[in-house]
Amino acid sequence: MFKILRKTAQTGLVTIGYPKKTAHLSTQFRGAPRFAFSGWRDARPAAEACPTAAISIQESDGARRVTVDYGLCVYCGQCAEADPSGAVEMTREFELAALDRRNLVLTAEYAVDNEGIQYDLKKLHHGYWPVEETSEILERNVRARIRQVLGRSLAIREVDAGSCNGCEVEITALSNPIYDAERLGIHFVASPRHADMLLVTGPVTRNMELALLKAYRATPDPKVVVAVGACGISGGIFGRNYATLGGVDQVVPVDVFIPGCPPRPEALLHGILLAVGRIEQKGLPQ
């Protein structure tokens, strides 16, 4: 007993201050890539190198549409390595969680010459295709209401709907003394019936589809669903196939999307707090 107490005293306080204080990141950490869209001459090498097709290209006569989907990105840095022009660079930004799937997508429309060089950026917009902004005011009202109901306490049921367990490694870390989500009133519960939030990792497999639906139905209203990681958002590197359905939103409605492969614990905290209106959305690096 004495040994245990002594060890505790020696250890002292180890919990981080995030989100009140900024996160401590190593110098090497690879966060989201940033694209200098206006000066980008050729997106093809980066698109070719991307393992998950997060950078995709659609060619049409004299025009090229380059789409960057942060919901597919695994932050490997291959695009930055492959692009000779330096228009792609890796940043250390990780607070990427978004309330709308389209906010994770940037599409640039270029005019291209005969060599396939992009000489003019015509347009840059969110989403794969330009769309009118939706009823964001309504969304904000709903969020305020959720915040009112849930107060400052949040019960989370984690559902692994097909993940490789990388996301689980980081979600488990939220309960350790370093990240200690309990200090923010966040705790993990054993049953969806006790939960306010489903924190779902994916891709959703055919074999987990029913279990996820049942967990969703068992969670009392009002509830929020958070999709975690590239696979939870879009199916990631697995995509959609005979055994997987792709992202979590293919099965249940999703309120917040947290990119990453896996998202680091601070990014998870950011997304969870965003879902209950306790923190602001940051947006993509631009």
């Binding site: 250890t11 190593s26 393992p51 932050y75 490997c76 692994d160 990388g166 309960s175 987990m208 196939n241």
Partner: protein
């Protein structure tokens, strides 16, 4: 030591026309082609005369190229770095092969996987029910080339799995999963209990089957590395390395010494962060929560170091065919030494707390015992095997990266209980720290960290093996055109080891199940793929 694997002449003499040819594809990889699907006499011979073990069984669809399916039986021997791979054709018209599962329980699931994924029939299998597809799936054979990966299957109907009834007075069933109480991967456990003790445990896995082996056939090799990293997230680097080693073997590329040292460091860091987390989790499951608080702090220390060395807490994006993607600066290496110095100190302190707790020892000793006989019969590998007398470690038996088989110590215990599975982890962490220190010393010499692997010849077969922190990981590939793969077979150690859990829990009380399960800590995603 057993005799080394036989030569062609001897096999021809013993088996006549049954053996077609023997060819050494690579230094440590010999293929023995048979005349037909019946490999029983050869397997029997290899097991009795050469003390060989079946490490893996898998199939390949070569119908369009060669008009047949092939079954592959991968053998290895203690003290011999070579693998002998028996390649047996199975005809399209008569898609049957004789089952070995009654003789060799270790191949039970693997043969059924061949049935489910290739539509071949393992004749005489003692339990031929589905394992890798659930019962409510239609009749499909997803790994046949004729099956398109994006096939949309109709909604499933009927029972997912029919469990065997367990009957008797006072006997009842406890169903658990697929969603569990904690942050754990999905799988279904059906316990038959009489009071507290567990009579019989039935498992239903493959809830997170993602079609990974099929997906490998679509990606060019440089992208497929990321898929390999996503087979089991906590073993990203081990799986990535096994895959890259197979690719390098096929491309006949020699990885520079510096890259091999760096891989060794990272493989050992992966072992350390997972082992220390498991030690903490075992402590938690017997109510010793403060030990877990320290252990998870130590894991975090290593995860931060991982990020310092690779940019990713789970070591992702670092491995590549031909070496590693980035070299380390002297600051990074100094940081590594400093973190591990503190880690060693703290880990020693943590173990003193755990080892001097009598009540913890009382809960762990003689709990969840797996006898050495059962471990051997079931082909248990890795931590679970070594705690039950299975003296096997790919780092020593099939050396790769910068491992030196002469100096590597493999901790082996005979008792096979939770305490010994924890002890194997403790011993391995101490050894990992030594291995990293040795690799660090070797890294003082500058050198190249990567050689290019530009184009890979098609139709080359190669095997990559890594002793991940859970145990032996095998990746077998056949290359195709345009730097793509025709086939990638993945064997995660978890696939071997789930049946061990079934044996180990028998007679134990239900409240001890979590700690027994944690002491194996198998990967669901690695199993299900």
């Amino acid at each position: 030591m057993a005799r080394r694997f036989p030569e062609l002449a001897e096999m021809k003499q013993a088996f006549g026309g049954l053996v077609q040819s023997i060819c050494a594809a690579h230094r440590n990889e010999v293929y023995l082609l048979t005349d037909g699907p019946d490999v029983r006499p050869i397997v029997q011979h290899l097991r009795s005369e050469y003390d060989a073990r079946v490490a893996a069984v898998f199939a390949e669809d070569r119908c369009s190229a060669e008009g047949v399916y092939f079954n592959y039986y991968v053998f290895d021997q203690t003290g011999n770095p070579q693998f002998l791979i028996v390649q047996a054709p199975v005809s399209q018209e008569d898609a049957r092969f004789p089952s070995l599962a009654a003789e060799i329980p270790a191949v039970n699931w693997q043969e059924r996987e061949i049935q489910d994924w290739f539509g071949l029939v393992a004749e005489g299998h003692p339990n031929p029910r589905r394992v890798a597809l659930h019962d409510n799936w239609p009749d499909v054979a997803p790994l046949r080339k004729s099956f398109a990966i994006d096939t949309v299957l109709p909604p499933f109907e009927g029972e997912r799995h029919i469990y065997r009834p367990t009957l008797g007075e006072g006997v009842f069933q406890i169903p658990v999963g697929p969603i569990h109480a904690g942050v754990i991967e999905p799988g279904h456990f059906s316990f038959a209990v009489a009071g507290e003790p567990i009579l019989y445990l039935q498992l239903r896995m493959f809830y997170v089957h993602k079609g990974i082996e099929k997906r490998f056939e679509q990606l060019p090799v440089n992208r497929a590395v990321y898929l390999a990293e996503s087979i089991s997230g906590d073993s990203s680097f081990s799986h990535g390395t096994a895959f890259c080693q197979a690719v390098e073997q096929a491309a006949e590329v020699e990885v520079p010494a510096r890259a091999r040292q760096m891989r060794t460091v990272l493989l050992e860091l992966e072992r350390v962060y997972n082992h220390v987390a498991d030690i903490g989790a075992i402590a938690t499951d017997v109510g010793f929560v403060i030990a877990n608080a320290h252990a998870s702090r130590l894991r975090e220390m290593i995860l931060c170091l991982n990020e310092e060395l690779t940019g990713s807490r789970l070591l992702r994006g670092m491995i590549c065919p031909g070496g590693v993607r980035w070299d380390w600066t002297s600051e990074q290496m100094d940081k590594c030494v400093e973190v591990l110095r503190v880690f060693a100190q703290e880990f020693g302190g943590l173990m003193r707390i755990i080892e001097t707790s009598d009540s913890t020892r009382d809960r762990l000793e003689r709990t969840g015992t797996l006898t050495p006989e059962k471990a051997r019969d079931l082909g248990i590998v890795g931590v679970g095997g070594r705690a039950s007398g299975v003296d096997r470690d790919a780092r020593r038996d099939h050396p790769y990266a910068a491992y030196d088989p002469a100096t590597l110590r493999v901790p082996v215990y005979q008792e096979g209980d939770v305490l010994r599975r924890m002890q194997v982890r403790v011993d391995e962490i101490w050894q990992s720290l030594e291995l990293i220190a040795a690799a660090k010393a070797a890294l003082a010499e500058p050198g190249s960290h990567r050689v290019p692997v530009s184009s890979i010849q098609p139709d080359r077969c190669a095997l990559g093996v890594v002793e991940g922190w859970r145990g032996e990981i095998l990746h077998w590939i056949r290359t195709g055109d345009d730097n793509r793969l025709e086939r990638c077979k993945i064997k995660d150690p978890s696939l071997n080891n789930w049946p061990a859990l079934v044996e180990a829990v028998q007679g134990n009380i239900v409240p001890d199940f979590p700690v027994i399960n944690k002491s194996f800590n198998l990967s669901y995603s690695g199993t299900d793929r």
